[in-house]
């Protein structure tokens, strides 16, 4: 569904850049100017600028901005530590925390009129999911070497011909379910908000959905990160 107003797209159009009118552009420049791309850059710039503004001078007694980040980062660090062990957390904390912040801000930004969630495009969520999926295999291979294949062979050697396809299918299903769940939830929120804005925007009809949208955005970001951590932890531990 086409969004009613996307202000970055309008600005870019005024600057003379080609904005694709379908979901996907034809030329490289059109592809770069797709709304989910521009809003991805917007979220990235937002995170960098806010981080820079609040953390430019770190003090022993934290102020407002530093307090917020310490609470958030500290909470996430403890959560990862509990769920996948300190060794993996040391290595992978920056990546997963960046995913968490990016997904949370990307989901929430779609609630403001004139903005769009970059995560409501399957391209964004699939990209994130492929990174997570490949990383969890790399973690497994590094932790166990070739013995990592035991994760896919099931408990009993006789059952290997049965268990190998089942395990492989359920592993690939992670890729699908992780990406499509985030995409589906956020796209549903965006589409519903857009339709309600067009139908009865003057009567504040989208307000209750916006309230639910805050919940959905935060919960989906949480779920993505939780599942990422669980997968990393699983591929790191020994096969049953």
């Amino acid at each position: 569904m086409e969004h009613p107003i996307l202000f970055i797209s309008i600005i870019l159009e005024k600057l003379g850049l080609p904005i694709p009118h379908g979901p996907i552009g034809n030329t490289l420049l059109e592809k770069l100017c797709e709304p989910y791309m521009t809003y991805t850059w917007f979220v990235m710039i937002f995170l960098v600028v806010v981080g820079k503004l609040t953390l430019s001078n770190i003090e022993m007694i934290p102020g407002k901005g530093q307090n917020f980040w310490e609470l958030l980062i500290g909470g996430m660090y403890d959560f990862f530590n509990d769920n996948m062990g300190s060794e993996l957390t040391e290595k992978l904390f920056p990546m997963i925390a960046t995913f968490a912040l990016y997904i949370a801000v990307g989901n929430l930004i779609g609630l403001i009129p004139g903005f769009m969630s970059p995560t409501s495009s399957i391209n964004t969520t699939l990209a994130l999911t492929i990174i997570v999926w490949i990383t969890h295999h790399i973690i497994g291979l590094r932790a166990h070497g070739l013995g990592y294949i035991k994760h896919f062979l099931g408990p009993i050697p006789v059952l290997i011909p049965l268990m190998l396809p089942i395990e492989l299918i359920s592993n690939v299903a992670r890729l699908l379910s992780l990406s499509i769940r985030l995409f589906g939830n956020i796209m549903a929120k965006e589409t519903l908000l857009g339709i309600l804005f067009m139908l009865a925007g003057a009567y504040f009809a989208p307000l209750p959905i916006m309230l639910l949208g805050v919940l959905v955005s935060l919960v989906q970001a949480m779920v993505f990160v939780l599942l990422t951590v669980v997968y990393f932890g699983q591929s790191n531990e020994h096969a049953h």
């Binding site: 509990d82 359920s170 299903a173 699908l176 769940r181 779920v223």
Partner: protein, 83 residues
């Protein structure tokens, strides 16, 4: 309230994706079977790999279901023995 909402998020995170993972596993199995039939063997084995793939997909769905049920229980057991 805070305890309730963290518990809620934990439950949603652990069990909220049961349905989707189940369906995704079935569709991947079915899709793999159809691909083997139609493109790898050019339709000469037509219904067979589809059904085999479907069976493996359903098996994988149930297997991921059991995994989902088993993993959080194991995690909470490790974390606090009383709870």
């Amino acid at each position: 309230m805070a305890k309730l909402s963290t518990e809620m998020i934990d439950l949603l995170g652990n069990y909220g994706h049961i349905g989707f993972t189940f369906v995704a596993a079935i569709f991947i199995g079915l899709g793999g079977g159809i691909y083997l039939d139609e493109h790898f063997f050019d339709g000469s084995t037509s219904p067979w790999f589809t059904f085999i793939g479907l069976a493996f997909g359903i098996g994988a769905g149930f297997k991921s279901l059991f995994d989902i049920l088993r993993t959080p229980a194991a995690r909470t057991k490790d974390k606090d023995p009383e709870g």
